[in-house]
């Protein structure tokens, strides 16, 4: 949990059946019960018949409690946990394309991206595309930094997370 302006920021991790329609059931639940989520990611896990969904949400404790209980109620959801952000590793990836025509701008952007341990994925005549990986905060910080140059396109993956150490 991270305290934010609108309640608290939580990471919810769910193991779900890896089969068609499960993402639909989960997102339809969020829509039907007006749960506001910030991001949702789904991908494969070490077990081929299970997927891991990572959901981040800004909410109060009571809404979070309902979100978790309603998720658990779904037949295709095998396990749900609210991750303790202090004991969790979590990362997000962002692709950011910026206007960069003159050489000064281009070198500034390359500098910033080095500082943020980003990768330059593409340089064209007028744009540079950077890959930044980190916590959502770090990505926000980079975004704010390069905003004045003109971001032409941006794509964020949402958060993926695992508990630290041996905890399952």
């Amino acid at each position: 949990m991270v305290t934010t302006q609108n309640g608290s920021w939580y990471i919810v991790s769910a193991l779900v059946e890896n089969k068609p329609g499960v993402l639909f059931r989960v997102t339809n639940l969020f829509r039907a019960r007006s749960f506001n989520i910030e991001s949702i990611t789904v991908g494969s896990t070490e077990q081929k018949d299970l997927s891991r969904m990572t959901i981040t949400t800004n909410s109060d404790e009571r809404t979070l409690d309902q979100l978790v209980k309603q998720l658990r109620k779904l037949i295709d959801v095998v396990e749900v946990k609210v991750l303790d952000t202090e004991k969790t590793v979590y990362r997000e990836l962002a692709l950011i394309k910026m206007k960069a025509v003159d050489p000064t701008t281009r070198s500034e952007i390359i500098n910033y991206s080095t500082i943020f341990r980003g990768n330059i994925l593409d340089i064209g005549k007028e744009t540079i595309t950077v890959e930044i990986t980190g916590t959502p905060d770090k990505i926000d910080a980079f975004k704010n930094l390069v905003e004045p140059y003109g971001i032409t396109q941006l794509s964020r993956t949402g958060v993926s997370a695992l508990p630290r150490g041996v905890e399952v």
Partner: protein, 559 residues
Amino acid sequence: MTGAKALIHALEKEGTDLVFGLPGGANLPIYDALVGANLRHVLVRHEQSAAHMADGYARIKRKAGVCFATSGPGATNLITGIATAYADSSPIVAVTGQVPLAMIGKDAFQETDIIGVANPCTKYSFQPRAPGEIPEIVKKAFYIAESGRPGPVLVDIPKDVQQATADMKFPDLIKVRGYNPVLDADLSDMSRAVELLIKAERPIIMAGGGVILSGAFSELQALAELLMIPVVTTFKGKGAFPENHPLAMGPIGMHGHAEANKIILEADCIVAVGARFSDRSVGRFDEFGKGMSIIHMDIDPAEIGKNKSVDVAIVGDVKSSLRTLVKLLSKKVVKRSSDSPWLKRRKELIQYYSETLKDYPRDITAKKSLKKLRELLPANGLVTTEVGQCQMWASLHFDVISPGTFFSSTGLGTMGFGFPASIGAKAAKPSVPVVDIAGDGSFNMTENSLAVSVLEKFPVIVFLMNNYMLGMVAQWQRTFYNRRYSGVEQHSCPDYVKVAEAYGAQGIRVGSMQELDKAIKAAIKSDVATVIDIPIDPDEDVYPFVAPGTGLKDMITGA
């Protein structure tokens, strides 16, 4: 074996002996497989009614009811019935035909994404992609529908999957790893519940539909009698506790009994058993239960804290939770006396409202008619209702004596539910009379089920309190819109006696209480369905009334 044959065989293995449905292009193979099967098919006149019949059957039989429909419009017609069952936690297994696999997603004729449509109102849904999956899917469908907090499950079978053949294995045991309903009571919080209850001076039990679903009637009665706790119910819980019992107070809520709405506000400890604190029962969530301790027992963990924060939560089947609670309590208390100040208060409130609430001045009224019905209907007779004024009058004026003999569309409030549901109930228990307490507006919606009741010999009684008005809406228009009627008048159409007769049923119009007496007696004896047309005054209101958005304390008694 074909997929269709496997479906029928799997249903037989689940003990299904009756299916309500209607065929069409996409479920022809299933209907062909019905020929010579060991289960009876009841042909409905509209798929909505098939779902309601399966629902009514399920509520009385306490096992899943089954309905069939074809793809597209057949399937969408089922949805109202499925949503009704979902809102009231009733187990049905709905089997729909679907266009062939290769046509799915091509906007084919009579194609609907029924899995998508049904998602928010089903407990789960399946779409077998190969015939060999069908036996296990049917087994899982029944398991999910009937266990835990029950609910409807949809099985949508593409036509080519019905036709294709496979070597079938019918499993006896299945496991659904993401579904593990909590059954045994959680003991950790039980001692706190015991403490609160012993300390309470003005305890009250609020019994919900969960008590009926779990058949926890004697356990509930044991708790009430041990501590001499007055019992109110939600509307869904009506009949969870005998309403002629010396501790009974009747339903609370928007049209609850005045004394029930009043006493619950004076309590210092509420035990909510299998209830979900719905807006219709408790009025305003923020106001209800202030300054009282609340013990909440429910099988569904997601109900805890959903509408109301509680002091003690006991998750589990309420039958087992109540049994444990009573066992622990009886070690600590001796049976309490029946003349505590709290029980005197109960009597005082009942007395007060019986003297204060006025009867509507007319020869035939809803109240008098329902009292007459109660007098003549045996205690084990089954009663369901339509939706609207008729339903609320039933709640107020028809006392349920034998627990579990009353049910209604309480959550979704589906007009047209009662009549087909009464047919389902009759199918589940043919030996007792079954009555649908109806109004004209609701009966209009599914009256074509008269064909089913006549042809399939389900002689139910439609107790039609007829004001030729969408009465509840009219009452709200009188109350909140200065009597400006809009879209509520039925203009004496149709003639319900003729409607009944057109289908080969019996129609009786009554003009006096004596005629009503005779009509009820004739209907109970009749071997065809009977519609009793009881003319009532369109101005007869349902009181008490807790206006939407207000609290129980703001109850209008009409006195």
